[in-house]
């Protein structure tokens, strides 16, 4: 348990590593060896995280067994009387809040979520006007889950990068900021209060900025970096305002207390929670790439590929999802997730999932396909949270991190082999040259597509199920979104595989398999993409093998039941029909795409079989087939229009609006500066002077020097004044 109470060590180690690398990297350690520092630090942190995970599991198990007797007869009740007691024993700066009555149950399927302790430590950081700002760590299942994800992916990316970024002009800085990012992200996930959360949130944003702009000599990279940072700042308005609302309502920053308070007060604070939720949703939209603030994420691919894998696929972009999960009672109350059948969060999530998937078809850059896929999958998670499927969202976050990181690293490996290009039109046939990359990529693709029994299948199924069942009423629109996206996801990923690995090599030079330093992490991730789903297998599945004990591990250990049951969250049981439907959709997506390419692919069959093409080998005609593919496959459906419309909207409306907003801000700035500042205010000041001057020039005409003219003026003025007096008095 020691590690859970001293969890601050976990972010501290990479932070120290950052300083060491930055300050001593070039001089003492040597530029080509800094990656060892980073890898060591993250390795230690990974071990600590694993220890933390084990301790956490032990803790939950202990609590469960010690409460076993109570649990036996409390088990029957499903969702009744589940009010959070909120009476954690407070002693000093450490309290262990053990719930007495926090039993969840999944519609009688008979597992007991154990009492759910939260370990929260806090030390006074500073105080202002009677309000104490604390710094501390909040460790619960969700934190531990993220610790595992972040440190695992980070470690693998560190290792992978040592080859991928080798010899880079800024190798030292790269590793320094990779460490800083890891530290910030870990700091963020164990933030004890909202202020810390903001700090972590901003710090990961800066690391993202620095790493996207890693090759800052080229203008597009810095543009992308600035765009990412600015878009995130837009969301930060929401974050700052949302935090201010929460603080104003509850008078505390403490996340644990806020969650408990919302659970207790419920509808009393509904309006404030609605406002806070909307504000925070803006932050989620920017950080987690949700519509309409997602446009920075594809551009962010300008950074080095491992960075994209770590930051822009697996960890930082899920910060928004994590925050929703962390403050779930707030959103649950604010958006009335329990009672509605559609709400802002679910809609934004579902819609983002749909447009992201649609856009992925229109890309030729493999990283951009993956980026849009990430957008889409993040939308899935947000949608899951929006329909009340908390566990499903976290589970999907967990599985997605592995297979998406694997896909990105695979893309990096491909580009490493194929002369640093990410254009799929210059790839092709790579499966022959790089078998490891190919295999891992396919495994991850299957996982992403949600094919049984890969990880994605299980998590996606839970999300669809959540939408189907909802809380009090089903989220029908979300279910439709989810199903369509399932189909699309499978289809565009198959397309990627086709262009990248099948067919003939269309690039220059001789592609080669990447070294082991890169393939081993790929394999690890691929294995995780296969087995990660096992961590939350539903009981009925495991019953077949007599392994019920291992069911719902994520749910059991990650879900903060004392918050969620306090707000009355129910868990739908698994349904074979839904699972089968999801699987069929995914398979259909793959099958249609595959069939299409299968019919038209190959050096031999292409020209003969295709009516529209004159020749089948050249790049241009491939593009032509793509248009044909779109019209052929999605005929009668609205997918291509959606993709194009979305792309069009993306490029012409949202980007335009963003650009125009920027230009407009600049223009209005210029306008205000020129006309108001320089023109009005400044001129008023200047005008006093020049007006006097001009007036003087005007009066100069009157200054004839002739006494009689002055006399005329004198008497005339006297007369006028006299007349005025006479009239007035």
């Amino acid at each position: 348990m020691w590690i859970l109470e001293n969890a601050f060590l976990i972010p501290l180690i990479p932070a120290v590593s950052f300083l060491v690398i930055l300050l001593f990297g070039r001089s003492v350690i040597g530029a080509e060896r800094v990656h060892k520092v980073g890898i060591t630090a993250v390795g230690i942190v990974w071990i600590l995280s694993m220890i933390a995970a084990v301790s956490w599991i032990t803790q939950v198990e202990d609590a469960t067994s010690s409460k076993a007797d109570d649990a036996e007869h409390a088990l029957v009740s499903v969702n009744e009387g589940l009010s959070a007691s909120g009476s954690g024993a407070v002693d000093g700066d450490l309290y262990l809040a053990a719930e007495d009555d926090g039993h969840g149950s999944d519609d009688g399927h008979g597992y007991a979520a154990g009492p759910d302790p939260v370990i929260s430590t806090a030390d006074g950081w500073w105080s202002s006007g009677g309000i104490d700002f604390a710094v501390g760590t909040l460790v619960d299942g969700q934190t531990v889950l993220l610790l595992v994800v972040v440190t695992s992916i980070s470690l693998l990316v560190h290792i992978y990068s040592s080859e991928y970024v080798k010899g880079d002009r800024r190798f030292v800085h790269y590793y320094a900021f990779l460490s800083l990012f890891t530290a910030s992200m870990l700091f963020f996930v164990m933030a004890q209060n909202l202020v810390q959360m903001i700090v972590g949130w901003e710090l990961v944003g800066v690391c993202s900025f620095v790493l996207i702009g890693h090759w800052w000599e080229e203008r597009p990279n810095t543009d992308a970096a600035v765009k990412a940072f600015l878009t995130n700042r837009v969301g930060d308005i929401g974050l700052l305002v949302g935090v201010a609302i929460l603080f104003g309502t509850f008078g505390t920053f403490d996340i644990d207390s806020i969650n408990r308070a919302v659970g207790e007060m419920g509808s009393e604070v509904h309006f404030a929670m609605l406002m806070a939720s909307i504000a925070l949703m803006a932050a989620v939209c920017s950080k987690s790439g949700q519509f309409p603030l997602h446009t920075w994420l594809p551009d962010a691919m300008a950074g080095p590929t491992p960075v994209s894998a770590l930051i822009h696929a697996a960890t930082m972009v899920v910060a928004g999802v994590f925050m929703i999960g962390r403050l779930y009672p707030v959103f649950f109350e604010g958006f009335s997730i329990g009672t509605s059948s559609i709400n802002l969060m679910a809609f934004i999530g579902g819609f983002t999932a749909l447009i992201g998937a649609g856009l992925a078809f229109a890309q030729w850059d493999i990283k951009k396909v993956l980026a849009y896929s990430t957008v889409s999958q993040l939308g899935y998670m947000v949608m899951a949270l929006g329909v009340g499927a908390w566990t499903a969202a976290m589970f999907h976050l967990f599985t997605h991190a592995f297979f998406k990181a694997c896909l990105f690293l695979g893309a990096g490996s491909v580009s490493h082999a194929a002369h640093h290009t990410f254009d799929m039109r210059e790839m092709g046939g790579l499966r022959k040259y790089m078998p490891h990359t190919y295999k891992t990529f396919v495994i991850s693709t299957l996982a992403l597509a949600g094919i049984f029994p890969f990880a994605g299948f299980w998590s996606k199924d839970e999300i669809l199920l959540g939408a189907l069942k909802g809380q009090e009423s089903r989220y029908l629109l979300m279910l439709v979104f989810g199903c369509v996206v399932a189909l699309l996801t499978a289809a565009y990923m198959t397309r990627v595989i086709w262009y990248t690995f099948w067919g003939e090599y269309r690039g220059h030079g001789h592609p080669h398999e990447s070294p082991k330093v890169m393939t081993v992490p790929l394999w690890i991730l691929a294995v995780m993409a296969v087995v990660a789903g096992a961590f939350n297998l539903p009981t009925p599945v495991l019953e077949l093998f007599g392994l019920e004990r291992f069911a719902h591990l994520v749910q059991t250990y990650a879900e903060p039941t004392h918050y969620l049951n306090a707000i009355g969250l129910s868990h739908p049981g698994p349904e074979w029909e839904m699972a089968a439907a999801g699987l069929v959709l995914a398979l259909a997506g793959i099958a249609i795409t595959f069939m299409y390419y299968w019919r038209n692919t190959g050096p031999h069959g292409l020209t003969e079989r295709n009516r529209y093409a004159k020749a089948g080998y050249t790049f241009l005609e491939q593009k032509y087939y793509l248009d044909h593919l779109y019209t052929d496959i999605v005929v009668g459906s609205i997918k291509a229009p959606i993709a194009r419309a979305a792309n069009w909207v993306n490029n012409n409306v949202i980007d335009l609006v963003v650009n125009r907003a920027g230009e407009g801000a600049r223009d209005s700035g210029r306008w205000v500066y020129r006309w108001i500042d320089q023109g009005t205010i400044d001129n008023t000041v200047n005008a006093l002077g020049s007006g006097a001057d001009a007036g003087g020039q005007g009066l100069r005409v009157m200054q004839t020097g002739k006494v009689q003219n002055y006399g005329s003026l004198l008497f005339g003025t006297a007369a006028v004044v006299a007349i005025v007096f006479v009239i007035v008095l």
Partner: protein
């Protein structure tokens, strides 16, 4: 007799004097017009003195006559000087102060 008949006479003379000061080109004529204005004031003073039964009106009229004499003396000296220097006493030809 009315008070006003004297006052109005004074006012008219004053206005005529003003016109003379402003309109005449000849320096001597300007000085004469000034005398006219001073006399118009004198008439007022004497009339008010009578009206309010005080001797001050007459005393001040006397003073003004004295000052007017001084003024004419100096004024004519200046006009003379101007004439000597410029061979003209047309006041509208003197515009050294033109801005």
């Amino acid at each position: 007799m009315l008070l006003n008949q004297f006052l109005l006479l004074g006012a008219l003379l004053f206005a005529v004097g003003v016109y003379g000061v402003l309109a005449r080109r000849n320096g001597v004529m300007v000085l004469m017009s000034i005398e006219l204005m001073l006399n118009a004031v004198n008439l007022n003073l004497v009339a008010f003195g009578l009206q309010h039964d005080v001797v001050s009106g007459q005393v001040f009229a006397l003073f003004i006559i004295a000052v007017a004499a001084a003024e004419v003396g100096v004024g004519l000296a200046i006009v003379l000087l101007l004439y000597r220097n410029r061979r003209s006493i047309a006041v509208d030809e003197f515009d050294l102060m033109k801005g």
